[in-house]
Symmetry: D2
Subunit: 284 residues, 4 copies
Amino acid sequence: MSERFYTLNASCPDQVGIIAKVTGFFAKYNGWILSSHFFADETSQGYFMRLEVRADFMDFQSLKILFEKEVAQDLKMRWQLFDSSILKRVAILVSKQEHCLFDLFSRWRAKDLNMEMVCVISNHPDFKEFVEWHKVDFHYIPINENNKREAYFKMANLIQNYQTDALVLARYMQILNKEFCAQFQGKIINIHHSFLPSFIGAKPYHQAYQSGVKLIGATCHYVTEELDKGPIIEQDIIRIDHSHSVEEMILRGKDIEKNVLARGLNYHLENRVLIANNKTIVFK
Amino acid sequence: MSERFYTLNASCPDQVGIIAKVTGFFAKYNGWILSSHFFADETSQGYFMRLEVRADFMDFQSLKILFEKEVAQDLKMRWQLFDSSILKRVAILVSKQEHCLFDLFSRWRAKDLNMEMVCVISNHPDFKEFVEWHKVDFHYIPINENNKREAYFKMANLIQNYQTDALVLARYMQILNKEFCAQFQGKIINIHHSFLPSFIGAKPYHQAYQSGVKLIGATCHYVTEELDKGPIIEQDIIRIDHSHSVEEMILRGKDIEKNVLARGLNYHLENRVLIANNKTIVFK
Amino acid sequence: MSERFYTLNASCPDQVGIIAKVTGFFAKYNGWILSSHFFADETSQGYFMRLEVRADFMDFQSLKILFEKEVAQDLKMRWQLFDSSILKRVAILVSKQEHCLFDLFSRWRAKDLNMEMVCVISNHPDFKEFVEWHKVDFHYIPINENNKREAYFKMANLIQNYQTDALVLARYMQILNKEFCAQFQGKIINIHHSFLPSFIGAKPYHQAYQSGVKLIGATCHYVTEELDKGPIIEQDIIRIDHSHSVEEMILRGKDIEKNVLARGLNYHLENRVLIANNKTIVFK
Amino acid sequence: MSERFYTLNASCPDQVGIIAKVTGFFAKYNGWILSSHFFADETSQGYFMRLEVRADFMDFQSLKILFEKEVAQDLKMRWQLFDSSILKRVAILVSKQEHCLFDLFSRWRAKDLNMEMVCVISNHPDFKEFVEWHKVDFHYIPINENNKREAYFKMANLIQNYQTDALVLARYMQILNKEFCAQFQGKIINIHHSFLPSFIGAKPYHQAYQSGVKLIGATCHYVTEELDKGPIIEQDIIRIDHSHSVEEMILRGKDIEKNVLARGLNYHLENRVLIANNKTIVFK
C-alpha cells in the first residue's frame, strides 16, 4: 500500500481488444499492474476500467502524454490519471448533527481516510471549537431565506479557493441550489438517512416509522439537481422492529449513516467510482 | 416444543395493571406461562401481548369462557386463543414461478412449517403434477379480462370450503379484486419482490436496475385493497453491484423472496403477528 | 424516554405465577410498567426478567424495601433496581489504537451513550491531550514485565475511587491479571476483533487471513479470567474476499469493532444484560 | 447470457505483462472478452485470472492448442478452458436431512443451477421415491463400521462411471475416507453447519448453543483429508439470541445452509473458484 502508484479511470465504447490495447501499453513500458477491473455496461454500451500501476516506470506527465497518444485517442476514451502520492482535498458541509462530522475526523486522524481535510463549512457556529482544535479551518456561513444566493456564492468561492476535490455533506440540512450542484457535479457526496428511493426528502425516519418497514437504511450518493436522486455510491441497512420509536431509529440509524458515508467517500478518494448515466460503477 | 400449549393474542387500551391481571388469571388456575411478550404502542395507545401457556391446566373451551369473563371484559380486550394441537389450514396461490411454491412444499414436508397444506390454486396448469404428487389438491382457475369476477368468486368459495386460515400468494401474478381482499382481510400473505415501499407494482427488479440501488430486497406483507401497501410482516435484502444484470437480480432475489415469505408465514402460523393500524407487531 | 423510570433486573427459579406476582406488586402500588421482558432458560432452570416502571409511584428506597419483602423473598429472587436518573460511571482502558476510544467519546458527547465518562487509563501517553480536551481525567499507567502487579493494583484503586460501574477495554492490548478480573467481574467489557470462538488471542485478523474465511467479525464480551472466553454480549460480521490483505481487514474491521462495542456497552448501560452461567440474556 | 462462451481459469507466477499477453492473444484472433478478473496473490506470489470469451471466434480444440502454444508455455501457466454449452455433471450425497437436497433439486428444476444432475447416492433409502420422481438415478449404499472400505470403493466407481464433475455433500453425515478425498480433490463440495473455523465436527449447533454466540452460520468448502478444514468457498450467518433453543437454531440454520451451499456450488459450476494453497479465490 505504501508504494506510489498511478490509478487510471477510463471509459470508451465497447469493442474487441480494449484490454489488450490498454495493458499492452503498460507492458511495453514495463509498467507493473497492481490491480485491474473491467466492466462492459450493457445499457450504455460503454466499457469501463480502473487500473493501478506501480509508479516506478514513468513520470506522471510523460505517462499522460503517451497514454493519450498511443491508447486513448484510438479508443475514443475518456480517462483520468491519479497519482497516489497526491492526496485529494476534501471540504465538509455540516449543520447541527455531529455524528458524521466526528466520525470523518476520527477516520482522517487515524489515517483511515487518505485525504487532506481542507475546511469545514457550517450554517451553525457549534463545531467551530472542535474543528479548530484539529487545526482545520472552520467557516460559519449562516443561511436564511433572504441570503441563499449570496451564501452559496460565498461557499462556492471558498470551495474553489481551497482547490477542493470532494465536498462531503455530513448531514448538511440545507438544499443546495442548482448552480452550486452544477458547478461541482460529481464532486459533492451526500449521506441520506434512508434506503433510497424510499423516503426521499425530509424526516425519512418518521416516514419509515409510519410505513412500518422492518429495516432502515442509509444511502451515500453524488448530489445532482434533483433532490436525493443522484447516482448511488453505497447503501446499507439495519434491522428494526415494532418496538423502535422514531427516536430509537434516529439513534440506531447514525451507525449506518456514518459507515455508509465513510465507505462511499473512501471509494471516491480511491478513484473507485465511475459514473454511467445516473448509476455508479464501483470497482472494489 | 412438542408439548401442547395455548397461544393468547390480545390487545386493549393501555392502563396500569394489564399484565398483572392477565398473568394473575393464569396463575390462579395454575397455568404455566411458557413465553410472554408485551408491547405498549405509543401511536395507537394500544397494549398488545402474546402468551404461550401450557395446555395441561384447563380445557380450551373452559379457558375461553373464563378468560372472557374474568379478564377480557374488564380490560375491553380484543383477543384470540389458539391451540397448538390444531394446525392452521393453508392454501397457496401461484402462477408460473416455481421457487416459492417449491420452497413452501419442502419446508412443509420437512415439518419446518407447522400447517396443513389444503390446496394449491393456480391460473396456469403447470404445477398440477408436482402438487398432486405431494397428495395435495390442485385447482386450475384461469383468469382473463372477461372472467375475473367469476374466477375470484370461484376461488373465494374454494378457500372457504377448505376452511382456510391463511392464503399465501407465492408469486401469484394477478391483482386480487377488492371484494376478495376484504373477505379474507388479515389472512392473505403476499411476497413482493422489492424492499417496499421502493418499487411498488410491476417489474420491481427492472425498477431496481434502473435506479442503481446497491441492495435489493423482498417484503412479506398482508394484502389489503391498496396494491403493495398492506402491513409489512418481514423484509430482507441482499447486496448487488453494477455488474448484476436484471436477470441476475431476479435469480439472486429468489433466495430472499423464499426466505422472507417463509419467515413471514411462519410468524403468522405461530400467531406472532398482531396488526395495529397499518403496521404489524411481530413478537419473535 | 425523558421521564424518570426504574429498571428491575431479576432472576429466580422457575415456577408458576412469577410474572403475576411481580407485576401484581407493581399494579398494587399503581406502578406503570413501560416495558417488560421475561425468559425461562431451560439450561439453568432459571427465570429471568427486566422491567421498566415509571418512577412517579414510589421513591427508590421504599420500592427496594417493599419489593424485597413482598416479592423477592418468596420467589428466592436475585434482583437489582436501577434509577434512570443516575447515570452509570464508565472508565476506559486504551492502548495505542484510537478508533474505539474516539468512537466512544463521539457517542458520549452526542448523548447517544447515557453515562458519565469518569476517566481514561492508558499504558501509553498518546491520547492525553485528546482526552483532557474533552475535560475527562487521563491516567498514564505504563505496564511492563516487572511492574504488572503494582500497575494493576494502581489501576484497581483508581477504578474504585472513581466508583466505576463499567470498565471498557477499548482495544486495550494488555492481558488483565486474575485478581483484577475477579475484582470487577461482570463490569469489564472487552471488544475482541474476531468472531469468537474463532481466532482467540493475538492477531485475529492475521489468523482470519490465513484461514481464508469469507466473513470477519468482532465480539463484545464480559471479561473473565479465561482469555476471550467470557459471556458474549454482542457480535457482528462483515463480508470480505480473497482480495483483502490483512491490512485491509484491519481497516474494515474497525467499523465492526466500534459498532459492536458501542451496542454491547449500551446494553450494559441500559441494564439489558443478565448473565446465566457463561452466557448472556440480552433483553432488547 | 444465452450466447455460448468459453471460460478460461488460469494461474501463473506474477510478472509484468501477463494481462497484455493473455488479452492480446484473444484480440489477435478477434475473441470478444465478455468479462475478466485478475488477481495477484501476495502470499503465493501467484497471478490468477478468469475470462469469459464469446465462443464465435474459434472452435474449442483449436483454441486450446493455440493458447497453450502462444501464451501458456511462455508464462508457465496452469490453465483450464470450459465451454458454456457443456453442462457440468453433478452427483449428490445425502443422508436423512432433506432441506439441502430438496433445495438443490428445486434450483436445478428451475434452471437456476446450470448442471446435469447425474445421480443421488445415500446411506439411507428415504429419498428414493423423491429422486426417481424427478427422473434422476438413486443409489442406496448403506455404510456401517464393517463395510466402509467397500462402500467408498463402490461409490467412487459410481461417481467415475457417471463422469462426475462435482460431488455435493448435501448434509451427508458420514466422514469420507482419505483415498476418496484424494481421488476427487477439488471436486467435493460440502456444507458445514457452522461458521468455520468455529465448531468443527459433530453437532455444531449444540456447540454454538453452549458457547452463547449471537450469530450462527454455515460454510461451503472443498473437502480435503482434514475434517472441515478444506478451502472455504462461501459463508454466511444469521442472528440469534438467548431465546433460541438448539432446535430453533437447527431450524433457522437450514436457510443459511441451503443458500450458502447453492451459492458455493454455483460459483464452482461457473468456474469462478480457483484454489491457492488452502484458500479460494472466488471471482464474482
